[in-house]
Every structure is written in C-alpha cells, then in structure tokens.
C-alpha cells in the first residue's frame, strides 16, 4: 500500500502529543472555550498602557505553566508559531509606515505609534497562537471535532472537518502516487514548463477527490445517512471540569485586572 502508511494521521494530527496529563484529560469543548476566552482577554489588553508588556509576560508565564502541567516541551510549542509568520511581517512593517512622532533606532526613522502597535500585534498574536498550539498538542483532532460539535458548530462544518481528517492521507497518497508516476517517466519539476504538467495534475487530483466524494456520499446514504453524523454517548461534564479548564482565562483576566488597577 505504501504511501501515507502508519504516519499517525499525517500532517493533521502531527501537532498532537499523546499523554494522560490533567490537561489532556479535560473535555475538549471546555478546552476550546478556555482557549477562546484566553485569546479574548489577551486581545482586550490596551495597546498603549505602560503595563501592557508586563501583562504579556504574565500571560506567557500562565501558558508555560499549562505546558509544564501537560508535559509538553517548549520546543514543541514554538514550532506551532510558524503559522504566525504573515502577522510578523505585517507587524514589522508598521513602524515604517505609521505616522506620528518618530524615533531613531540604529539609524532608521521609526514611528513610535507604529512600534507600539506592531509590538503589541506581535505579542497578542504570539500568545494566542501559543494557546491554540497547546490545545492542539493536548487534544486529539477527533476529540477536538467532538468538542466543536458539542459547542453547536454547524453540523455541516463539523462533517467537512471530519472528512478532512479522514481523507487527508488518502488524497495525500494519491498525490504521492501521481508524483512517482510522473517522475518514473523522466519528469523533473525544475523547469518553468513544468507548470504545464503540474496544473492539469492538480486538476485531475481535484476531479478524483470530487468523484471519491460522490462515492463516499453513496456509501453514507446506503447506511441510512440523514444529514448528520451520529455521535456516540456524550459524557456529562461537571462544574469541576469547567472550572479546571476556565482557570486559564480566569487567571489571565486577573492579570489584566491587576494591570489596569495598579498600572
């Protein structure tokens, strides 16, 4: 069978680090709410307050605490920051293009407002992405979907995400086989003319996937599909789990409150 075999869900579950820590054991939907609330608190931190940097450090320490509790190595979380690169570029541009009073840094004339805004965008984005990475590292993607379903995300979206997880490897395998077939006949992707070959290949992959979608739909109808993916028994989540999960955004809220009272 070859391609895409035994890779543990391929790219999609690559973020997940299996474990049994208290963070792993929390119900996924409580963790989702907690991360969302944490990101909200982070975003609410006023950009121009003098104590903002201290608050950012506080938030970061909270996240590191959760990571330590979950036994996730910091290096693992830092890798999640790759998705943030576009924000970094945007934030780095701000000091150059913003108006207002300017300061000289290393011979460059930079906007003070731009520095503050850029720095704060960077800090807020980094903290939110770190929190999301922690969520992904401690929650199996399938559990995450159950969580989304429980939080009443529209069923169609949950189904699309479910199928994405299931078929990422299948489509990836097809892609790999097409690549092998091309290269076996002497194709090399270096020349500009290669686009003429790769374009139609992408098209044919799309058509294959579309046809597979139709066949899967038939298989689903044949087993009584009525528009919803049936879920199994739903665990009862007590106040204690919610309290455990929400302790992160609550602590972040406390940091924010302390900052605005003392600062």
């Amino acid at each position: 069978m070859g391609a895409g075999h035994g890779t543990g869900g391929g790219g999609i579950s690559a973020m997940y680090v299996p474990g049994h820590s208290p963070v792993h054991r929390l119900e996924p939907h409580t963790k989702l709410v907690a991360v969302l609330a944490f990101a909200l608190v982070v975003v609410l931190t006023p950009v121009h307050a003098g104590w903002a940097p201290a608050a950012y450090v506080g938030f970061l320490l909270l996240l590191l605490g959760v990571a330590a509790l979950a036994r996730i190595r910091p290096g693992r979380i830092v890798r999640g920051l790759v998705v943030e690169v576009p924000f970094v570029l945007f934030a780095a541009l701000l000091p150059f293009v913003s108006r207002g009073p300017r300061v000289e840094v290393l011979g460059l004339s930079l906007s003070e407002n731009g520095l503050a805004a850029g720095g704060s965008i960077l800090a807020k984005a980094t903290l939110s992405v770190l929190a999301a990475t922690l969520l992904a590292a401690t929650t199996d993607p399938r559990a995450l979907l159950r969580g989304l379903d429980r939080l009443r995300l529209p069923s169609v979206l949950v189904q699309i995400l479910t199928f994405m997880i299931r078929y990422a490897d299948v489509v990836g395998g097809e892609l790999a086989r097409m690549k092998v077939a091309r290269e076996s006949r002497g194709f090399r992707a270096r020349r500009v003319g290669a686009l003429k070959v790769l374009g139609p290949a992408a098209g044919s992959l799309f058509i294959r996937s579309y046809e597979r979608g139709e066949r899967v739909h038939l298989a689903m109808l044949s087993r009584g599909y009525t528009g919803r993916l049936p879920t199994g028994p739903v665990a009862v989540v007590g106040g204690r789990s919610w309290a455990a999960a929400l302790s992160l955004p609550l602590a972040a809220g406390a940091v924010l409150a302390a900052g605005s009272l003392l600062g």
């Binding site: 399938r142 899967v216 689903m220 009525t226």
Partner: protein, 249 residues
C-alpha cells in the same frame, strides 16, 4: 404457514440514466433467504446499476424491487437500506469515520438504536469479521485486507437481510482473499456478490447469474455456468489460465 418471502425480488427492472443511456432492459432476479449468489458479467453490463437499485439509490425506472417482501419506495427507504447492506469496492469510500468503531456504529446510530445496543452490535460485527481489536484504530492504519473486512462489518452491524458485495476480492493478496472468504462463508445472511473473479464465485456461491447488455442471460449452478465455454466467451467472461471448474473442489 406460507413460506417466507424471498430475500430479494427484482421484477422486470428497466432503467435509463438521465443522459439517455439505458443500462437495464428488464431484469428478473429472485434470491431465497440464506442463498449465496454471484452476479457475473462484463464491464458495462449493468451490474452496478442493478446494485444501486437494490437499496433505492437509483429508482424511477420500470419494474419493482422488493426486499424480504418490502417494496423499495420513498417511504420504505430507511428500512430498505437497513435490510440491504452494500459493501462498496474501495474500502476507503466505505470507511469515512475517524475510527473503525465509529464507522461500524454509523449505521446502527442512524437507525436510532440505544447506545448499549449499538455497542453490542459493533462488537458482534467486528468479531464476525475477525477484527475485534481494531475498534479504536483509524482506518488508514489497517492493511487493505483488514479494511475490506471492516467494510463488511460496517453493514453487518445493521443486521441486513441481504449483503451485497461489489468486487470483494479485488486488490486483495491471496491470504487476504482467503481470510475474507472464510468470513463470508460463516455469515448467516443472503449474499449477492458482484465479481469478475470466477474462481471466487465458484468457491463461495453455489449459484450464479450472468448479466449482460442489461438483461439476465444465464442463471444456474455456478459450476455448470463456468464449464460452459460458449456462454463465457459470448459474455467476455474468462477463467484464469489453467483453471478448470470441473476438477476443483
């Protein structure tokens, strides 16, 4: 007491696709409870079209289909799809849920069964195909043969009256082929097996039906049909090199 109705009754079924291509020209087929029947025929004979009618995916042509006495129509569709379990050719099409257990539970949950009953059926179905320990595994971690057997379990869990298999032996290695045959022989259901694999048909199905050009052209004992060289040649059916149905088994 009257005898039980046939598991499957197809009466004068004709069907043309919306593009005008007519695939079936009046098919008659009757399967008694517990029978194992092979559906043979060349590519384009209408086999898949016929299969799609058995659980009401395709409808609207002439004729009728009944499953254990229940006519296939709009209001009976859910029950018909419970009674007819179709196992499609590519197990990656059949296994669409994240884990094997959830996939086998998909049908029973759609039937609205209570959760303990769902769990029991999942366990039974996986045990029946010798995959009891695969419950929590994602389908892409299984070998092709294992996926094919799990695909059978996904319809067994609905406790069907008729099991329809589309090319069950395709892409299997010889060991996977034998293991699947051992599973299928044990199942207490009516079996309709669409296949090009004539030795497999002989091994599993005492009776065969040959479909060609949208009509049934032969219906009889598999061993006799396979020994009829003219019949096979006329319908693009070929035995593997060196295989003689008269000397097997």
């Amino acid at each position: 007491m009257s005898p039980p109705p046939p598991s499957l009754l197809v009466d004068d079924l004709a069907f043309a696709y919306p593009d005008g291509h007519q695939a079936l020209f009046g098919v008659d087929l009757r399967l008694e409870p517990g029978e194992r029947v092979a559906l043979l025929g060349p590519n384009g004979a209408g086999k898949t079209t016929l299969v799609m009618h058995l659980n009401g995916i395709l409808r609207g042509g002439r004729g009728r289909v009944e499953v254990a006495g229940l006519p296939v129509e709009d209001r009976t569709l859910q029950e018909v799809r419970r009674r007819v379990g179709i196992v499609f050719q590519d197990p990656d099409d059949q296994l669409f849920m994240p884990t094997v257990g959830e996939d086998v539970a998909f049908g029973p949950r759609n039937l609205g069964l209570p959760e303990p009953e769902v769990a029991r059926r999942v366990a039974d179905a996986l045990a029946a195909v010798d995959m009891a320990d695969a419950h929590t595994r994602p389908p892409h971690h299984l070998s092709f043969g294992q996926r094919r057997r799990v695909a059978v379990a996904t319809v067994l869990s609905m406790q069907p009256e008729v099991l329809v298999l589309d090319e069950p032996s395709s892409n299997l290695d010889p060991a996977g082929r034998r293991e699947l045959a051992e599973v299928l022989e044990q199942l207490p259901v009516t079996l309709l097996m669409v296949t090009h694999d004539l030795p497999y048909a002989l091994q599993l199905c005492p009776r065969s039906v040959v479909l060609d050009g949208g009509v049934v052209v032969a219906d009889g004992a598999t061993r006799e049909l396979l020994a009829d060289r003219e019949l096979l040649a006329a319908h693009r059916l070929e035995l593997p090199f060196g295989f003689d149905p008269r000397t097997v088994g």
